[in-house]
C-alpha cells in the first residue's frame, strides 16, 4: 500500500512537472523593437529596446525561472527572477522585457542590450536551459526607427515589420487598423469592395441554387419512376400530364394556409389563451372561496414514533 501511495505521489508530481513544462513551451517571443527612439517608455522614462513575450496557452504561465539571451552560446544569460508574482502571464496575455543592459532596475530589465546596427537574435529557454523559442530580427529591420518586428498575428509563424508597434496588446490590432487604412487609401468610394462582396454573395447562393436545382430534379425524376412502377405493378398506366400536379402542394392547401396566416396577422382570431378570466360560477360553493381550504390547519405534534 505504501509503495502504491509513493508511486501515486510520484506520478502526480511528474504529471504536474510535465504540465508546467507543457505550459512553458507555449511561451513565444512575439514582438521586438530594437531601435526605440521615441516609442514605448519604461518606468524610468527611458526609450530602450524591448522584447514582448506571449503566452499562447489557455492557462496562466509563470515565466519565472526561464532564461532570456541574445547569445546562442550562453542561453542562460539572463535568468528571469523566480518568486516575482508579476512573472505570471495570463492566458493569451503578454509581458514586456526591456533589453537595456540594466538588470538592477528590476525583473523586467535584462542584462543585455539589442543593437540597431546589426542582426539581433533573442533566445527564450526553459528552467533546464532547453530552447523554447527564438526570434531573429534581421539587420535591416533592426535599424528601423520606432518600428517593431514580430509575428503578424499573435503566436503565428508569419513574421515581418508590424504596421504599428503593439507592446502588451495583440499584434493583429495593428494589422486590423492597417486594413482600415488600406481600404481608405485604395477604395475610398467603396465601389470595389461593394462589387466584390456582392459577387461573392451571389457566388455562394448561385452554388446553392445549382446544387439544389439538380438535387430537386433528381428527386422529381425518382418520384416519377416510382409512380410509373407502382402504376405498372397495378397493370395501369400513368397520365404523364398529371405527374407534375401530384408533386405540388394543391393550390387549395396553399390558399388555406395563407388565409389562416392572414387572419392571424389581422388579429381576427381569439387571443384568450393568455387571459385569466374571473367569472362568477353558477354553483354558489367553490373550493376557491372556501374558508376550510383557505385556512391553515393547526399543526399537530406527531407523538407516534
Amino acid at each position: 500500500m505504501r509503495i502504491f501511495k509513493r508511486g501515486l505521489n510520484l506520478f502526480l508530481f511528474m504529471t504536474a512537472v510535465i504540465c508546467v513544462q507543457a505550459q512553458v513551451t507555449k511561451l513565444q517571443i512575439n514582438e521586438i523593437m530594437v531601435n526605440n527612439q521615441g516609442d514605448y517608455v519604461d518606468h524610468y522614462g527611458q526609450n530602450s529596446p524591448w522584447i514582448e513575450i506571449y503566452n499562447n496557452s489557455g492557462a496562466s504561465t509563470n515565466i519565472g525561472g526561464c532564461f532570456l539571451s541574445d547569445d546562442l552560446n550562453n542561453p542562460r544569460k539572463y535568468p528571469i527572477t523566480k518568486g516575482d508574482k508579476n512573472t505570471i502571464i495570463g492566458p493569451r496575455q503578454f509581458t514586456i522585457f526591456w533589453a537595456d543592459n540594466n538588470a538592477t532596475r528590476g525583473t523586467f530589465h535584462v542584462n543585455f542590450r539589442l543593437d540597431p546596427a546589426k542582426e539581433n537574435t533573442v533566445y527564450l529557454s526553459d528552467a533546464s536551459g532547453k530552447l523554447i523559442d527564438k526570434l531573429i530580427v534581421p539587420a535591416k529591420e533592426s535599424a528601423l526607427v520606432d518600428k517593431s518586428y514580430g509575428r503578424k498575428t499573435d503566436g503565428s509563424q508569419e513574421l515581418g515589420v508590424l504596421a504599428k508597434p503593439t507592446p502588451n496588446i495583440n499584434n493583429a490590432f495593428a494589422d486590423r487598423d492597417a486594413a482600415n487604412e488600406k481600404f481608405k487609401e485604395n477604395d475610398p468610394t467603396g465601389i470595389a469592395m461593394s462589387v466584390t462582396a456582392v459577387a461573392v454573395v451571389f457566388l455562394a447562393l448561385i452554388l446553392l441554387y445549382v446544387c439544389f436545382k439538380y438535387t430537386g430534379r433528381f428527386y422529381i425524376n425518382r418520384g416519377h419512376k416510382k409512380a410509373v412502377a407502382a402504376a405498372e405493378a397495378k397493370g395501369g398506366t400513368v397520365d404523364q400530364s398529371k405527374i407534375g400536379d401530384t408533386d405540388g402542394i394543391p393550390v387549395e392547401v396553399c390558399a388555406a394556409i395563407a388565409a389562416a396566416l392572414y387572419e392571424m396577422q389581422n388579429d381576427i382570431h381569439d387571443i384568450e389563451d393568455a387571459v385569466l378570466t374571473i367569472e362568477k360560477k353558477a354553483v354558489s360553493y367553490s373550493p376557491w372561496s372556501s374558508k376550510i381550504y383557505g385556512l391553515r390547519q393547526t399543526p399537530q405534534v406527531n407523538t407516534k414514533r
Binding site: M193, L208, F212, K213, G216, I249
Partner: protein, 382 residues
C-alpha cells in the same frame, strides 16, 4: 434636526433627479415610444418591448462616482455581465440557432432560383456602405452601418460588435426599428417599381419537398457557404445546425429547446441589454442620427434591388415560370415580416393570389445572404 436634513440632502444627491440631463429625458421618451409602438400597435413587440424597457433602464441617471456598480458600462456590474453576450458576440449566433430550428426551407428548396433574390437584396448593405464612406465614416464603421440593410438584428449586432463597438447601440436600435417599420418602408417602394400587370403574376405552386432534401439542405448549405466565407461561420454554422436539429427528426427535444426557451431567453437578454446600452451620453450624437438616416436608406435600396432583380430575372424566364416582383422585397431578411408584406400587397391587387409561400423562399435566402455578407465584411475589414 440639522443631522436629519444633512442626511436627507445626501440622500437626494443619490437620487436620479440630481443627475438627470436633457439627454436622459430624451432617451426615456424614446424608450416610451418604443414601448408604445410595441404594445399599442403590435410593431415587433418581441423586440421593441425589451429594447424599449432596456432604454428606460439604461437611462436612469446615477452618480457614477459613488461606485454603485449598476451601470451597463461599469466593469463587473450585473448589467455589464449580461451585456457581455452582446459585446463579445455570442448572443447573435445563439439567436441564429433558434432561427434555424424554426425555419422551414421547403419553399427555397422547391424553387431554388429564389435564392438569387436573397442575394440581390444584399445590395442594400453595400449601397449603404458606399454612402456611409461618403459621409466620412471609416471603412470599418461604414461596414457596420451597411449591415443594417441586411434587416437582420443579430447579424447587425454581431458585425458592429466586431467592427465598430462604439456604434453598436445606434446600429442595433436602427436595425430593429426598421425591421419593425418594414410595413411602412417597403410598400411604397414595391408599388413604385412594379406595374399593375406584374403585380398580378401568379406563380406555380411549390412542389412537395422530401425529408431527405430537407436534411441535405443545412449540410450542403453550411459546406458551400462557409467554404467560401469562413468568417461567417458563427452565424451560418449555428443557423444550419439549428435547421438540421429540426429536420433530422431525431433531435426533436433539442430543436424545441433551440426554437423555444433558448431563443426566448436570449431574445430577452439581447433586447434588454441592447436597449440599456443606449445611454444618453453614448447614444445622443450626430453619428447616431446619420446612422438612422443611412439605415432607412439601406432598407429602401435593399427593397428596390430585390424587386428590380426579379423584374430583370423575369426577362429570361418562360411565361409559366415568371416570378411576381412583389416577392422581391422579401430578399431583405426581416423574417417573416417582409414575406407578409408581399402577401398583403399581392392580395390588394388580386384577392386570390397568395404569395406568402413563394415570398418565404427569398426571405430565408435573405437570412443566409446577410450572414454571408456579414462574413465578407468581417473578412475584409476586421
Amino acid at each position: 434636526m440639522e443631522f436629519l436634513l444633512e442626511n436627507l440632502r445626501e440622500f437626494l444627491s443619490y437620487t436620479a433627479f440630481a443627475h438627470v440631463t436633457l439627454g436622459h429625458v430624451v432617451m426615456i421618451l424614446f424608450g416610451l415610444i418604443f414601448l408604445y409602438l410595441g404594445i399599442a400597435h403590435d410593431f415587433e413587440p418581441m423586440l421593441l418591448v425589451p429594447i424599449g424597457f432596456g432604454i428606460l433602464i439604461g437611462n436612469i441617471p446615477f452618480d457614477e462616482g459613488k461606485g454603485l456598480m449598476v451601470g451597463i458600462y461599469e466593469e463587473g456590474s450585473v448589467l455589464n455581465i449580461l451585456y457581455s453576450g452582446v459585446r463579445q458576440g455570442w448572443y447573435p449566433p445563439l439567436i441564429f440557432l433558434g432561427i434555424g430550428a424554426m425555419t422551414d426551407f421547403s419553399a427555397l428548396i422547391s424553387n431554388p432560383k429564389l435564392m438569387l433574390i436573397g442575394a440581390s437584396a444584399q445590395v442594400g448593405i453595400f449601397g449603404a456602405y458606399t454612402i456611409a464612406l461618403a459621409c466620412g465614416f471609416e471603412p470599418t464603421q461604414a461596414g457596420a452601418i451597411g449591415i443594417i440593410g441586411g434587416a437582420d438584428g443579430p447579424t447587425a449586432i454581431f458585425l458592429s460588435g466586431k467592427l465598430a463597438p462604439n456604434l453598436m447601440g445606434a446600429i442595433a436600435i436602427a436595425a430593429y426599428s426598421y425591421m419593425a417599420l418594414v410595413p411602412v418602408i417597403q410598400p411604397p417602394v414595391m408599388r413604385a417599381l412594379t406595374t399593375s400587370k406584374e403585380r398580378l403574376i401568379r406563380m406555380k405552386p411549390p412542389r412537395a419537398v422530401s425529408q431527405t432534401e430537407k436534411i441535405f439542405f443545412p449540410i450542403i448549405g453550411l459546406l458551400l457557404t462557409t467554404l467560401i466565407v469562413p468568417s461567417g461561420l458563427p452565424l451560418l454554422g449555428m443557423l444550419f445546425f439549428g435547421n438540421l436539429l429540426k429536420e433530422s427528426g431525431v433531435t426533436r427535444r433539442l430543436a424545441e429547446t433551440a426554437r423555444g426557451p433558448l431563443i426566448d431567453t436570449i431574445t430577452i437578454l439581447l433586447g434588454l441589454t441592447v436597449g440599456a446600452s443606449t445611454q444618453a451620453t453614448e447614444f445622443l450624437t450626430w453619428n447616431s442620427i446619420i446612422i438612422f438616416g443611412l439605415g432607412a436608406l439601406s432598407f429602401v435600396i435593399a427593397t428596390a434591388s430585390g424587386v428590380l432583380f426579379v423584374k430583370f430575372f423575369n426577362l429570361f424566364l418562360k411565361k409559366e415560370n415568371k416570378i411576381n416582383p412583389l416577392i422581391g422585397n422579401a430578399g431583405v431578411s426581416a423574417v417573416p415580416d417582409s414575406a407578409r408584406i408581399s402577401q398583403n400587397i399581392g392580395l390588394q391587387y388580386d384577392k386570390t393570389n397568395y404569395l406568402l409561400m413563394h415570398a418565404m423562399g427569398p426571405n430565408v435566402a435573405g437570412v443566409i445572404g446577410s450572414a454571408v455578407a456579414a462574413g465578407i465584411l468581417l473578412g475584409f475589414l476586421y
